[in-house]
């Protein structure tokens, strides 16, 4: 379970996140939406302790993330925007191993995790492929695999559909549905809700660093358009 309690984050005195409190149970599929600059990306970076709060607390499974960053980062996996800039190795197999290697696991366990993570995103058998040869959709899925290799219970994806054509988007969505069905919690950050409303359990919308909508997808759509979020059929 992830808990944000009165979280405040400032950049040079400007509040990007302004007193957000949220509780995210295990296994929940949450969509975090809001216009550009509303504080979404800043907020999720607190979930695994990449940023330090200016006020408030972040708890992962009841433990403050600043006390246990490794636990937070293995519990909450993260795939950022611009996947190209988060790969560390030249090949698919090398990259997906990076997280487990950092945990000091033995080679058998690393192999097992790499194979599982790649198969979960449909990149099995591609270990020796060079990352430069991957398509945009494959890169996004590899970024997800890199996070999954840590065997997290929550997975955060920041604007995962940017630049993907519709077949690539569908393939990614299908993988996300499978992960959710297997019990992984998903937190998808987006300014465009159209592809996610049918699957999400909950929609949280930020504006100017504050939560302005927190509802089921059905109830949320009414209010969302006024915050500049794209919603199907509106």
């Amino acid at each position: 379970m992830l808990e944000l309690d009165g979280l405040i984050h400032e950049y040079d005195g400007a509040r990007a996140v302004d007193g957000v409190s949220l509780t995210i149970p295990d296994g929940e599929f949450l969509v975090l939406c809001g216009p550009n600059g509303s504080g979404k990306s800043t907020l999720v970076r607190h979930l695994n302790g990449l940023l330090e709060p200016d006020a408030g607390r972040v708890l992962v499974d009841g433990v403050d993330v600043s006390d246990a960053p490794v636990a937070a980062r293995t519990t909450v996996g993260m795939a950022f925007q611009e996947p190209r800039d988060q790969f560390v190795a030249a090949t698919v197999g090398g990259d997906v191993r990076f997280g487990p290697e950092n945990l000091g696991l033995d080679h058998e366990e690393i192999d097992r995790r790499a194979a599982n993570a790649l198969s979960a995103v449909g990149l099995d058998g591609r270990e020796d492929d060079r990352i430069e040869t991957l398509s945009g959709g494959e890169r996004e899925r590899l970024a997800v695999a890199g996070a999954l290799a840590m065997e997290p219970s929550h997975l955060v994806l920041d604007e995962p559909f940017t630049g993907l054509d519709s077949p690539a988007r569908e393939r990614l969505l299908a993988r996300l549905r499978d992960l959710h069905a297997d019990g992984t919690g998903l937190i998808v950050v987006t300014h465009d809700l159209r592809y996610l409303l049918d699957d999400a359990d909950r929609v949280v919308c930020l504006a100017d660093g504050e939560v302005v909508v927190d509802a089921s997808p059905g109830d949320a759509t009414e209010k969302l358009t006024e915050y500049g979020v794209r919603v199907p059929g509106r």
């Binding site: 499974d61 246990a68 960053p69 490794v70 636990a71 293995t74 945990l103 000091g104 065997e151 219970s153």
Partner: protein, 194 residues
């Protein structure tokens, strides 16, 4: 959670950022090796931008991480990344005619960094005087050519005069152009040091 997390010794954020910047500067220098420009003074020898990378490493990363960036450049090239002139790679290049230049880069970048920043902490390069920047780069250039020429002379068994002409004089004038370019980059609004 399935892993014991207590034993994992995380690399601190500051070290991670410096390492990544050093590695990307080394890679940028490798990318510069593909970029050649007509030499204004000697059209027969095109200018590659690599030495510009040495200048930028010292100026933007300081003596320690700038020198480290150049160690990464030479090591990655020796281990097969095509970062040397003409997309060359391999340990053989260290023992080749340009090996002296390659070996000099870490020393030159560290020296430039030390002159620009001093030895405790980094300063914003934009605030450093022109004389100091030019002096730093000139000193770095002397280190590069001194090692470059001596190694060329030793490896190829030529006379020292041949080495100075073949490995030095043909290239030195272009370095002034690169220094001017580095000055322009430091003064431009585009690059933020921190």
């Amino acid at each position: 959670m399935s892993t014991a997390t207590d034993s994992v010794d995380l690399v601190g954020d500051e070290v991670a950022v410096n390492l990544v910047r050093a590695a990307l500067l080394a890679a940028l220098m490798g990318a510069f090796a593909f970029v050649s420009f007509p030499n204004p003074l000697n059209p027969a020898v095109p200018v590659t931008a690599q030495v510009l990378g040495v200048f930028l490493a010292g100026i933007y990363l300081g003596p320690a991480w700038g020198g480290f960036a150049m160690v990464l450049y030479v090591l990655a090239g020796a281990l097969g990344a095509p970062v040397f002139s003409g997309a060359g790679a391999g340990l053989g290049e260290i023992f080749g005619p340009t090996g002296g230049y390659l070996v000099s880069y870490p020393f030159a970048a560290a020296l430039i960094g030390a002159v620009v920043h001093g030895v405790d902490g980094l300063v914003d390069p934009e605030g450093v005087s022109v004389a100091r920047l030019v002096g730093a780069m000139a000193a770095g250039t002397v280190v590069i050519y001194a090692l470059g020429i001596v190694v060329y002379w030793y490896y190829l068994d030529t006379s020292l005069v041949a080495a100075i002409v073949g490995a030095g004089l043909a290239f030195v004038p272009a370095e002034a152009v690169k220094m001017a370019a580095a000055m322009g980059i430091v003064r431009s609004e585009e690059v933020q040091a921190t």
